[in-house]
Amino acid sequence: MWRFFAGKGAQYLLVVVLTVAMNFVLPRMMPGSPLVFLAGEDVGFLTPEQRAQLYALYGLDQPQWRQFATYVANLARGELGYSFQRGRPIAAIIGERLPWTLLLVGIALILATLIGAAMGALAAWRRGSTLDLGTLGVAMFFESVPSFWLGMILIAVFSAGLGWFPIFGAGTAGVSLTGWALVVDRARHLILPLTTLTLITIPGTFLIMRYSMLSVLGERYITTARAKGIAERFVLRRHAVRNALLPVATVFMLNLGFIVGGATVIETVFSYPGIGRLLYEAVLNRDYPVIQGTFFIITISVIVANVASDLLYPLIDPRVRRG
């Protein structure tokens, strides 16, 4: 088991190292001055003295290894650099945006896992029925739908058309709300992006649960349980679903990177002020330091989630502990 963690730990560390290295190399490798990528395209208008100052500020006059050491040291202190376009440190910008994404992604993941697993178990139990084939078709459809397009359609129908929900943002601007009114306002803004992200996340869980459940239902201990005369719903709940859930837990984490990516486009559609929307705004403005900082934070979050799942997995599956 320790070997397992050592191997995985080394792998995650490698991902972090590669991410850091890529963020360091990319602006310096591109044609033209790295200043353009670090400080923005406006550097073209600066006087030579100002440019030299900026050059020194970024340490670009120093040897490469020295620059890299400074870069890593800054990252370790949580300094992600400075966005000249926004005139603020990147860590502060991301700190403001991250909670919104965590809220959106967190709730969507929980909802999608619960709904997907329940539907998958039911579909497998009624294998070949209209219910099974119907849900399978719907799942395949939502797996193939572009997430941002689904969001646009939901806005067109429910916000612009019916006027049930606000069109953009995470809260009503220009009014100060407190208490219950604040919660309701935030929730109303959250519902459509949340629905979109949940809908596109369900199929993955559903398909894995259905497959896992099908193979579990073919196991001998299920036949034994049935032969003992245990009621069908107990066989399903106590014997089958519990074991079938294990691969779902794995996929849950594996999908995290994918879901964060999905959140990026969905936040863009709904102008939801999360980290994904920040990434989009940075791309639009060619604000390279922000693109890099955001990517770095997203990667770190995904790795933290993976580590957490590796540590939790033995708790839900005792076989891993013994193995």
Partner: protein, 285 residues
């Protein structure tokens, strides 16, 4: 016959045929775009923001281009990017899977570690980062997608290589003194190629969806409009806040879905026919 034998499954099944039909229609549209399309998609042919009329079945966009023509030509861009990106991905995936599975040992461990590594990275944000640096262009999108979606094909191919390697004819070839490299290319590779085709089709499905996302974020080539790029402009011009969504937003999204589904259905069915162990996994039995 007293005992009816189970019929061997070589047919694609209903799902496979639906997928293949969708692909044939969409590919046909792409190939015959100049003949099918009523207007030149790059020309301003009417007033901007026109609702559908008999002359312009899906209306016009923000600069007066015919949306229907845009979508017909968009099939070319979207499908080409999907095919080429999938070709790169499956090329890398097959090489990695073949080398890892056949050579085994340290090579295999290292390659599979790389596969796990790629699977952990949040790929859409990484693609956004790379595409932002490389700049929006047709080829950059293809390369960025291609070099990031090879991991799943590599895994599937590797497991198939492992089972082929255990077959008698491979052992016989090695016993007869064929060099391992030759056995790998002449005997093992042909055996996994059909599966590589299935993986190619699935990767294309994936690539089309990713391309749509990247283009929607404004990272697509503005001179070669794909379906995703059409949606990008619809979003920028707030088409989904007016009635225009019915003819400007709905059709391109349905086309992307149809292409993704077409590839996915065909790929899954093919995978099932080729690899009976996977039968029932996607439930299209």
């Amino acid at each position: 016959m007293p005992f009816p034998l189970p019929r061997p499954r070589f047919a694609l099944g209903t799902v496979g045929w639906i997928g293949l039909t969708l692909l044939v229609i969409l590919t046909g549209t792409a190939v015959f775009a100049p003949a099918l399309s009523p207007y030149n998609p790059e020309e301003t042919v009417a007033d901007p923001f026109r609702p559908p009329t008999r002359a312009h079945l899906l209306g016009t966009n923000d600069i007066g281009q015919d949306i229907l023509s845009e979508l017909i030509y968009g099939a070319r861009i979207s499908l080409t990017i999907g095919f080429l990106a999938a070709a790169i991905a499956v090329g890398i995936g097959t090489t990695v899977g073949l080398l890892g599975g056949f050579l085994g040992g340290r090579v295999d461990t290292t390659l599979m570690r790389a596969v796990d590594l790629v699977l952990v990275i949040p790929f859409l944000p990484l693609m956004i980062l790379l595409a932002a640096y490389l700049g929006p262009s047709f080829w950059n999108i293809i390369i960025v997608i291609g070099i990031l979606v090879w991991a799943r094909p590599a895994r599937v191919i590797r497991s198939q290589v492992l089972s082929v390697k255990a077959l008698d004819y491979v052992e016989a070839a090695l016993a007869l003194g064929s060099r391992p490299g030759r056995v790998m290319v002449r005997h093992v590779l042909p055996a996994v190629l059909p599966l590589a085709l299935a993986q190619f089709i699935l990767a294309a499905s994936n690539a089309i969806l990713i391309e749509a996302s990247l283009s929607f974020l404004g990272l697509g080539d503005p001179t070669a409009k794909s379906w995703g790029t059409v949606l990008y402009y619809a979003q920028v011009r707030n088409a989904f806040l007016s009635g225009a969504w019915v003819w400007w937003v709905l059709p391109p999204g349905l086309l992307i879905t149809a292409a993704t589904l077409g590839f996915a259905f065909t790929g899954y069915s093919l995978e099932e026919v080729l690899n009976p162990k996977m039968r029932g996994q996607r439930g299209s039995s």
